[in-house]
Symmetry: D2
Subunit: 359 residues, 4 copies
């Protein structure tokens, strides 16, 4: 298992869905940064289950404790320990899934790889693992905002076939996104998305979606070619989030259908420097930030755990019908928004530190 991410800003997460707690150690945070729980808890609140009728009904408060690394409201430059206690366990919900590996879920592969798995919930493959990421990411986010004015905002741009591309990436802000339960900042689309999610929830089914993200005010020069290109580490970070199936930056897959003469972003002068005059590149060139906003999209599949009966086989190979008990999300994208932001902050935070060595 590989639970550490980053070179100079390094997060290590721990915890299963049903042990004593989940959390993270964030090492490499610069010293003398003002930091309290108030900088961390809001992102955890945006991630937590039970926050709206669109999500699972499980209620988890997910209050974070800072174990170390901060004194008198200032970071010490030492590892910051972050812990969220586990609660609200109904292990009996998972009984039916003991013998039958959930289709498209990690039950099967964890069992095969490790020869054992957490008795309930998804263990480390559970969405609960992302709590550590969000807590750590909130700290990276604050560092980037306070020291560089970097602004990272994600939102829902698709739920199933309901897509929305009306967002102004220059101005979109988290409070605007949060005015919509589904976190798609458009009245019409949000309404359609919510309707769709609620219908699937009622049907015991699930649906996928897309989260888009913009990172503004990222200085020119971040990213370490050739293997740690900015987009390469963003891709790894996003594809490490449970349920993700795709990543694209800038023009992405649509850009493959364009000609170079159309796709290319000519430069223009801006202040003392150059900037791309449009942004098909999505904010990086050759793996290095260009000064343009970083724009990327992450595809999330429909959650695997659904109440509708599924014909499959049990671990012994015998035919079986699985009807998942418990309270599961019909669609993960509303809660995935702060996770995407957090992973982006961890990636960019690491590159900021790696770049400063040249300063």
């Amino acid at each position: 298992m590989s639970s550490t991410f980053g070179t100079l800003l390094r997060v290590t997460t721990f915890g299963e869905s049903h042990c004593k707690g989940v959390g993270a150690i964030l090492d490499g945070v610069p010293p003398r940064l003002a930091l309290t729980i108030k900088d961390i808890q809001p992102q955890l609140d945006r991630r937590r289950p039970g926050q709206s009728r669109l999500t699972t009904d499980r209620q988890e408060a997910d209050r974070v404790t800072i174990l170390s690394g901060v004194e008198n409201g200032l970071t010490l430059g030492t590892p910051i320990g972050l812990l969220v206690a586990n609660k609200d366990q109904i292990p009996s919900d998972y009984k039916s899934m003991q013998d039958i590996p959930r289709p498209s879920h990690a039950d099967f592969t964890y069992q095969r790889k490790y020869g054992i798995r957490a008795s309930s919930g998804g263990g480390r493959s559970s969405a609960r693992e992302t709590i550590g990421r969000v807590a750590a990411g909130a700290i990276a986010d604050k560092f980037l905002r306070d020291q560089f004015g970097i602004d990272i905002v994600a939102w829902v741009s698709a739920v199933g076939s309901v897509e929305n591309d009306t967002v102004d990436v220059k101005t979109i802000a988290r409070d605007k996104v949060d005015q919509f339960t589904v976190r798609c900042p458009n009245d019409h689309s949000a309404h359609e998305m919510e309707k769709l999610i609620l219908r699937l929830k009622e049907e015991g089914d699930s649906i996928g979606g897309i989260v888009s993200c913009v990172c503004r005010n990222v200085p020119v020069g971040l990213g370490e070619p050739v293997f740690d290109k900015l987009e390469a580490k963003l891709a790894q970070a996003m594809m490490s989030i449970p349920a993700t199936k795709g990543f694209e930056i800038g023009s992405g897959f649509a850009g493959t259908r364009m000609r170079g003469s159309v796709h290319n972003d000519p430069f223009k002068q801006k202040g003392d420097d150059l900037v791309p005059s449009k942004n098909n590149s999505g904010g990086t060139l050759g793996g290095i930030s260009s000064g343009a906003p970083i724009l990327f999209r992450v595809a999330f599949k429909p959650p695997a755990t659904i109440k509708r009966p599924q014909e499959t086989v049990d671990f012994s190979g015998a035919p079986a019908v699985l009807e998942a008990k418990g309270r599961h999300d019909p669609c993960v994208v509303p809660r995935a928004v702060p996770i995407v932001e957090s992973m982006a902050a961890l990636v960019i935070g690491d590159f900021v530190l790696r770049q400063k060595m040249r300063g």
Copy 2:
């Protein structure tokens, strides 16, 4: 700069487009593997420029030398040094681009990040950097094939709007792919793609495309959650290839529009074990290989360097028109096929070694 990739099987590449040579050190290759240049050169030949009228007219033989790590045709378990000499330089071709940063190219960001850049070609952002990857990847590929029967095959599935999804992922083989100059193994689509590329070449323009890849016979259990999920490291590897803009595995972005009850892949018995009965998941569950073929797609943008005049600004900010000299690829995907295979082999090879520690 971060030129090393992998945890136990580790490749380090070096070389600019116009220094003495490019190459790689591949460390961690198991000992006593039969290996000669004949195992490496064919993939380099599939990558080299000038191999067909669809690619740049630059002729580069790209003959590889094994510097170390092999004796009497067997690997020693020590680092394998790989060197390809540089030739065929026409630095004057790059004169016009000295003062004008190519739109959507890394000239600008390299200059800003490093305060210097290779005087010609793209330096480390050049496609020439991928020679080291392909040479090293060919070794990983042979190791995987010989020891595990793992079979990695990539092909072109789109050039511009010409798409092809007729490939049978269970049987497609490299020699079949190579029967088509454009490396799309379908008569009709290949013809259309070639026509499109030649037209754009004539127009001094360029076009994007998509490379698909399948990895067969990958044993269950590869991948290291949570941050080194199999798909996460594949995503990093692919997004580190020049000109890539997107990565998707299994159902990818299309999967976001599906319901869980449709998207989920129920299990069935196969021999003594279970396998997914279909493969929307693309061969991984929770970041771990499931035994199903690994299926992914990589989006390549149209090459940035085109002959058509582009209105932009020079480094000083003054308006300028750039007409690139030199011989550049109108579309990279035919030559990208072995690069994608090589990076896949490096990722899977690393995970094979990381998994064996549990054996």
Copy 3:
């Protein structure tokens, strides 16, 4: 700050002397290993302050909690979270040291490097940081003992000028070592060492010492040349323990005075394999374990914090006399024994996993 150690078996420690707690995340532990707190607590008890009159009088129970990674007494293969709460703080003890950097202590360098430091105790430079190492090391130790019969035993071989080299490295065991408060398993030497330590404690002074360690039954083949030689990673591990000033393996510094014809260890047959017939090499050849016991020694300086007045300067450069308050160890080696064993277990455990990839 770099708080992570290891490649496949990776420990990350956190915590200052006076925050909520200290601990570690140990990632990479193989699954299905029997593990309870009883496997961990004894080594923490051997490390804890206040265990005898030879150590500081501070009483800290240092009870460990397993936060994650273990269920029903078996490891899951997931990161094991380990937490020990902090108690017994008397911050006022540290008042006098706020303005005056302790000579030969990290107060000065932490302040210069980070521009801030923990308000009391030594922060991360405190011996308290080693709690996480010992808790994690106890798990590695159990893994090595249960799976491979590897036996790691450390003892005190010198306190000041009182040296002892009577230990039989083939048979020495931890319970034998623990029959002596000072952890030197020799009646006469132990008595002299204890007398010396108590005298210095009374005088408000301190004294250095040496910890020796043997690792038995280490299989042939561990260690990864060239930079991760077994002795190189052992050296890093030991020199990362607070207060260490030297490391030697086998003949060590004394070996520099020997001729090759005397120093060389000829081979002899043993069972089906060869082993060195003597052990000046200390159990490794070319950075790889040879099958002979691994033998090394670690030098610890006298603790920097002493009650005797010291003439120095304060942070402003003004002359000052420092008389440390608080309860400090007059000699660290008795408590360092389990720390040395733990770091050795973490190093060897990592190499066992790295070697298994070849199995």
Copy 4:
């Protein structure tokens, strides 16, 4: 095999004693540093065999080629490829050693670990592997000298029982050291050392020795607690050099016999800052450089390959007498001086870059 060292300044070495060549890739070198072969070759010349009658009689020119990363005499910020061709092979010299593992040499452990080994010489365990380190280290050395005025000087302080501690660590310089063939900058000791080495050479035997090193003008604040303490990474670096058996910093093993009140280095004012008024600590406190010179010593055992007959067993276990053919060093320390300097430069260079992120 683990052939890469460093976090931001990363060296990867390759090459056996008798393949096409040996060398290194040095990644992370800051851009725009003036660099030519003249900055590298002198250290290789100080390392090369055959440079004096004290070393092996093998003549190897060891001329380095820069493959990449430098253009017009300036570094590009990209990986610098370094290659030295192999020559002067007399494989027949190694015939007798094919069947008999040399006592205290890596023949045995390489064979057991990898199941194969280079047919002649020591393969990767050969001193020839250090060519890559010295070439890369010379670049790090120049970077540190040019940008920070850091001055790294090593010398021989003992050969067998002939010790010398008269060196003034404030002023000792490389040209002074090189006035003595044995690289001990003291007339009397040098004479005695040379006599001893020549006698052992004549007798077909060998002898160990100690290399001391000082690093001056190292800024305060380098080193990354807790596992990457400055002394911990120096220890790893030095103990990764072939034939090393011990490392000590500052007072080292002798310091274990001192009282804290004597060992402690009080601070004094110097300019605007504090510095330790003496240097038992050897230039680090808590793993971080203190501004005082970094002082350490490295123990080298007598070379294992000697001409005198040795009674041992062959690989099959049968009694055998080994008389090594070939031309081997009777004592490695004169040639080890630039190797120690190079590894020190690589360690400090890495920490300089890691520290700058805080700048």
